[in-house]
């Protein structure tokens, strides 16, 4: 009889299922980065002068900055001059209707399980499709417009709603915030824009699906979501990329703004190509995500399921400025093989009676390294602020590592801050128990891991929770041993 380890090895080694390349003719800017390239990107997108200047300013800042080195991740130096900063499928102009989209791109999204159409599977979800550097389609725009909701690519927003973009772009993540945010500010190509007017509850999930296709490029998208007074929106992003031996850089910036009594729920299912079993290739996911709870009783909730990327460097954060505002961070970060994740959150309490809740579930398998890094900062004026942090790590096998690095800074005596942390190993006893009841080994692993993550999975929108659960199972294939 074989052991669990052997059984897992025998199981068909299913490859990353989203690793194909779409044969579409793309227009790519030659590798390299200087002011000319930035002007070129800006020109290609027909941007106004102020935005070109904004980009150049960010670029000048970036040149003076150093890549952060404090995260527990290791990778060879990135040659920023070897990356192409713009790639777009060749088309004369953005298709006017969904029917005009290049059939190859259409097929790509069909293969990914998110067909570009306003019906059937994604009936309750409006999707913005970002293919390399550009948005190729956005569904349900009309229906949303009737409610005054703006959901479009950020390029369109620059053109059609410049006052909103100008007011909020960079207001939460300033161009000089950090090395990768500065780079993104200089070269960002596309991304999604959402504005929900006062008192409107967005009736459907808004979603962006990011796809890296072209080789030798990076993806630098920028997302800006504004929830006006008393509004509500739930937003989800998903992402995949082809399997390549090279590492590709993804440096996104996401800014959320919630005004008085508004609520934004932002969910991510991150499934960038993680590299192969030997650790070759994969996406470097260096992302800055931050939400500003600007208004009284506003609320921002981040939920992330991170299974992909060779390296993840990501700390979706909340600035709790409005009194009684609420920030939440629910995270599952799963690493396998040679993946490295350094992820967590920052909760900055400024307003009175602000509350935050952090639930982090880290799962490390293979030879991966998984770090939770979180900051809870209570400023002097945050009278009666409260935080609860729960941070659990699960180790699968004995060659991986889980690390927890919480930072807590409290400057107000009335604050209450709680931190709980556990580390456990996936036990042979649990697996045997499940198998003795008839569950095949892989289902047993997925069951135990999903149980471990349940609190977070429950936060995902229904439509995606099932997918995310399956994804956890698939990402763990071959991990026991």
């Amino acid at each position: 009889m074989s052991t669990a380890v052997e059984t897992v090895k025998q199981i068909t080694e299913r490859e990353y299922q989203w690793g194909f390349v779409t044969p579409v003719e793309e227009e790519t800017v030659p590798p390299g980065l200087d002011e000319e390239v930035i002007r070129l990107i800006s020109r290609k997108k027909g941007e106004p002068e102020w935005l070109t200047e904004w980009r150049l300013e960010a670029f000048r800042r970036w040149k003076t900055m150093e890549e952060p080195r404090w995260a527990r991740v290791h990778y060879p130096p990135i040659d920023y001059q070897a990356i192409s900063y713009f790639a777009a499928p060749k088309q004369k102009e953005r298709p006017k209707s969904l029917d005009e989209i290049d059939p190859e791109i259409r097929r790509t999204y069909e293969k990914l399980g998110i067909p570009i159409r306003e019906q059937e599977i994604l009936a309750g979800v409006a999707v913005d499709y970002v293919f390399d550097s550009v948005s190729v389609a956005t569904t349900f725009k009309k229906k949303l417009e009737e409610l005054g909701i703006i959901f479009c690519s950020i390029s369109e927003a620059v053109r059609d709603h410049p006052e909103l973009v100008r007011k909020y772009l960079g207001s939460v993540v300033p161009p000089g915030d950090n090395f990768f945010a500065a780079l993104n500010s200089a070269v960002f190509s596309d991304g999604s824009f959402v504005y929900v007017p006062p008192g409107v509850r967005c009736p459907m999930e808004l979603s962006t699906y990011f796809r890296i296709n072209a080789a030798g490029t990076g993806q630098f998208e920028r997302t800006l979501i504004i929830a006006d007074r008393g509004s509500y929106v739930s937003y989800l992003e998903g992402c995949t990329a082809p399997m390549r031996d090279e590492n590709q850089l993804h440096a996104a910036v996401v800014e959320l703004i919630a005004l008085d009594e508004a609520e934004i729920k932002y969910s991510t299912v991150q499934n960038w190509y993680p590299g192969d079993r030997e650790g070759k290739g994969g996406i470097y996911n260096f992302v800055t995500k931050r939400g500003l709870c600007k208004g009284y009783r506003s609320k921002i909730s981040w939920t992330q399921v991170e299974t992909g990327s060779a390296i993840t460097w990501k700390y979706p954060s909340c600035i709790l400025q409005g009194d009684e505002s609420v920030g939440e961070f629910y995270s599952v970060a799963l690493t396998n093989n040679f993946q490295q994740a350094d992820t967590g959150t920052k909760m900055v309490h400024i307003g009175r009676r602000t509350r935050s809740r952090i639930v982090s579930k880290g799962i490390a398998a293979g030879r991966s390294q998984n770090t939770y890094r979180g900051l809870v900062r209570i400023l002097r004026g945050a009278e009666g602020a409260r935080n609860h942090t729960q941070c659990d790590s699960l180790l699968i096998g004995d060659r991986c590592g889980a690390h927890t690095v919480p930072y807590i800074e409290v400057k107000n005596r009335s604050a209450r801050v709680e931190h709980e942390a556990t580390t456990s190993k996936l036990s042979e006893e649990q697996l045997f128990y499940c198998r003795a009841r008839g569950l095949p080994l892989e289902d047993a692993v997925a069951l135990v891991v999903n149980g471990f993550c349940r609190e977070v999975m429950e936060e995902l929108p229904m439509e995606f929770a099932v997918e995310a659960r399956k994804l956890l199972g698939i990402s763990l294939e071959g991990s026991v041993g």
């Binding site: 009889m1 074989s2 052991t3 669990a4 059984t7 036990s427 042979e428 006893e429 649990q430 045997f432 128990y433 499940c434 198998r435 003795a436 009841r437 008839g438 569950l439 095949p440 080994l441 289902d443 069951l447 135990v448 999903n450 149980g451 471990f452 993550c453 349940r454 609190e455």
Partner: protein, 251 residues
């Protein structure tokens, strides 16, 4: 051929031989009890039959329903109809008792090429079984075995037995740690599950369980071997004389 047929079984753990030439045959519909002192290898036998991987079978063979049991994975044995009520059931946080049982029921059905059980039917059967075993509904919603008392864990094992409807149920020291009322309740539930098609293998240290579940055969296991087999009266003899005479025989 017997439903379960063990011949000349030798099992080692970490190089040390625990089972040293064991023979046993169990027919459908029969209840067998294996009794023995601590360290006699009873629980090892239960785990080897269920497919636990830390044990090395060094010789012998086990046939279950005509198949070579030792060749099968634990889940394949379960699908074939083998069930082990564990002495120490594990906790699985975040997985509700009900959800787990439904996964198990459907995994077995899938392995047997049957369609999934409809949720409504599953819930109906679960409630019935829970009533029969004496499990409060609240325990069905809780995480599997999390915060269950010792008695509740044991009853929950019997609940699984009732739901998974095995052909051979092995009860590994199900009586240990139960007070007399809980013991009676578990015994009543097991008795209700006795059918002409289903066999039971009761592994126990004490005779008292056998006051409530009357076995067809009793085997005394000492030092990795069955040293004596008999009818239900053998258990009474053990109760009177203890294991000492058998230990001497074995030596």
């Amino acid at each position: 051929m017997a439903m379960l047929d063990i011949e000349g079984l030798h099992v080692a753990v970490g190089g040390k031989e625990i089972i040293r030439g064991l023979d046993l045959a169990v027919e459908a519909g029969e209840v067998h009890a294996i009794m023995g002192p601590n360290g006699s290898g009873k629980s090892t036998l239960a785990h080897v039959l269920a497919g636990r991987e830390d044990y090395e079978v060094t010789a012998g063979r086990v046939r279950f329903l005509g198949q070579d049991l030792l060749e099968l994975e634990p889940e394949e044995r379960a699908a074939l109809g083998l069930f082990l009520a564990m002495q120490y059931p594990v906790e699985i946080p975040g997985v509700s008792n009900t959800y787990f049982l439904r996964q198990a029921v459907n995994a077995l059905r899938k392995a047997r090429g049957e369609p999934e059980m409809k949720p409504a039917e599953f819930m109906k059967r679960l409630r019935e079984a829970a009533r029969q075993v004496g499990i409060r509904e609240e325990l069905l919603r809780r995480d599997l075995n999390a915060g269950f008392s010792g008695g509740e864990k044991k009853r929950n094992e019997i609940l699984q037995l009732a739901m998974l409807e095995p052909k051979l149920a092995i009860l590994d020291e199900t009586d240990s740690g139960l007070d007399i009322d809980a013991l009676k309740a578990v015994a009543a539930a097991v008795n209700a599950l006795r059918t002409p098609e289903r066999a039971f293998l009761l592994i126990t240290h004490y005779q008292r369980l056998l006051n409530f579940i009357v076995p067809d055969r009793v085997h005394v296991m000492v030092d990795g071997r069955i040293v004596r087999s008999g009818g239900k009266d053998l258990a009474l003899e053990l109760e009177e004389r203890g294991y000492e005479p058998f230990l001497q025989e074995a030596a």
